[in-house]
């Protein structure tokens, strides 16, 4: 951040986009927890987007809409957010950082750049969230979570306006973050969701991060669909998951350990699914 010479406070989205268009070496800032300690040395102008009114949480008929600059604390405390996925989104918020960090980190900041240690990108995938974005030409567009992840996150100059989460309360949901302590950086983040009708899995989502880039594990999802929950071959599914994930290097812990961890956490999620559907 050594080249930053300007800090701007737009009061609406249109102003923020204009400020970005004027200076190509601009970066938007909201919670700023990663930015302040980072090395974005080409940034000359910082544009503060916390005063644009993008922090509302709305309860709709089909979706819960959360504004991009809503803090993780406000999401965690919201009775509306608690309704998403039978509380799974609230649980994911609880496991992000610690209290002072959650008071600063925003939803948009957590999902914009797809950092592998971020807690919410996997939630976007298993909840089938939709992200509303505005580009510098002031064109608003929506992307599904899968597309957002495939695109590698937000494009420079675009601003996330909000995220729409379907409630998906008829689904089973699970979310786990494995770390040395509650507040430590994650070793593995995993989210799983399954739709079960008359004891049979009719649809499934499985997403992981940190152990690899943020991604859905579609071979496992396909293998689950059509199976009876009571007759799941847990060991076979565990092996399929382990062979479907290309584990990245982490200086803190071996690939073998994390591969084992991946299988154990997924097996526990499947066991919980079996318990809940019996």
């Amino acid at each position: 951040m050594k080249n930053v010479t300007e800090y701007k406070y737009p009061s609406n989205v249109s102003q923020a986009l204009s400020l970005f268009s004027e200076q190509k070496h601009s970066t938007y800032i909201a919670g700023g927890t990663h930015l302040a300690s980072g090395n974005r040395n080409n940034t000359i102008r910082l544009i503060d987007i916390t005063r644009l009114g993008l922090n509302e949480i709305k309860d709709g008929d089909e979706n819960i809409e959360v504004g991009a600059t809503t803090t993780i604390t406000d999401m965690y405390n919201s009775p509306i957010v608690k309704k998403v996925g039978k509380g799974v989104l609230k649980k994911a918020c609880r496991l992000i950082g610690d209290t002072p960090l959650r008071n600063a980190i925003t939803l948009g900041g957590n999902i914009a750049r797809l950092y592998t240690w971020a807690g919410l990108p996997v939630m976007l995938l298993t909840l089938d969230a939709e992200i509303e974005i505005i580009n510098p030409l002031e064109k608003t567009y929506s992307v599904e979570a899968v597309e957002h992840i495939t695109n590698g996150g937000i494009r420079d100059g675009d601003i996330i306006l909000n995220v729409k989460f379907p409630q998906k309360n008829s689904w089973f949901h699970a979310y786990e973050k494995f770390a040395l302590t509650t507040v430590d950086y994650t070793w593995l983040t995993m989210a799983f969701a399954a739709e079960v009708k008359e004891g049979q899995i009719t649809d499934a989502r499985l997403a992981v991060s940190r152990i690899t880039k943020v991604t859905r594990i579609t071979p496992v999802e396909k293998a689950l669909i059509g199976q009876l929950v009571s007759q799941l071959d847990l060991e076979k599914l565990k092996s399929l998951l382990k062979s479907s994930v290309d584990i990245v290097q982490d200086y803190r812990v071996s690939k073998e350990y994390r591969s084992q961890l991946l299988g154990v956490i997924f097996k526990r999620m499947l066991q919980k699914l079996q318990e809940e559907t019996q």
Partner: protein
């Protein structure tokens, strides 16, 4: 200095010259608020915790410019040696301070909790203090002190 930061610190309105890339921690210490400690400087240890618009945040990973027109409370703003805040008094009474470096941040995190939740559970206290590391004493004493301060702040003792 290239811009002026308008901010209220411990109830006093201030206009402070800052650079746009300066950390809030550095600006507060330069202004004399030395109770805001510099620890890890990467948002982990919590010893730089302050209240920004009544919410606990880590000032080492926030830019000073982010605090424009905000209210800041540092440890200097909540009690004195002769008239300590109930949380400070509880920390003394429970004997939970050893080296003391983490204590300003921890007390402000506790204040953030008790101002919003006057009757917290032990788990809620643990959650409120989860961003403040103590390497001397463990945490049981501090948790006990926060629980002891709660009824005093509610006016029951």
């Amino acid at each position: 200095m290239s811009q002026i930061l308008h901010v209220i610190i411990n109830g006093t309105s201030k206009e402070i010259p800052i650079e746009p890339d300066e950390l809030l921690l550095d600006v507060l210490r330069r202004e004399g608020y030395k109770g805001v400690k510099r620890g890890c400087k990467e948002g982990t240890c919590g010893t730089c915790t302050i209240l920004l618009n009544d919410k606990a945040v880590k000032s080492c990973i926030l830019l000073a410019a982010q605090a424009k027109n905000c209210s800041i409370i540092t440890i200097e703003g909540i009690g004195t040696r002769d008239n300590p805040h109930p949380i400070q008094q509880a920390f003394v009474d429970e004997g939970v301070v050893q080296c003391g470096f983490c204590i300003p941040g921890m007390i402000l995190s506790a204040k953030n909790l008790l101002d919003n939740n006057p009757n917290p559970t032990k788990d809620e206290v643990k959650m409120a203090l989860d961003g403040n590391l103590c390497r001397c004493t463990g945490y049981s004493g501090q948790i006990k002190a926060v629980l002891a301060a709660a009824p005093v702040m509610r006016g029951e003792k």
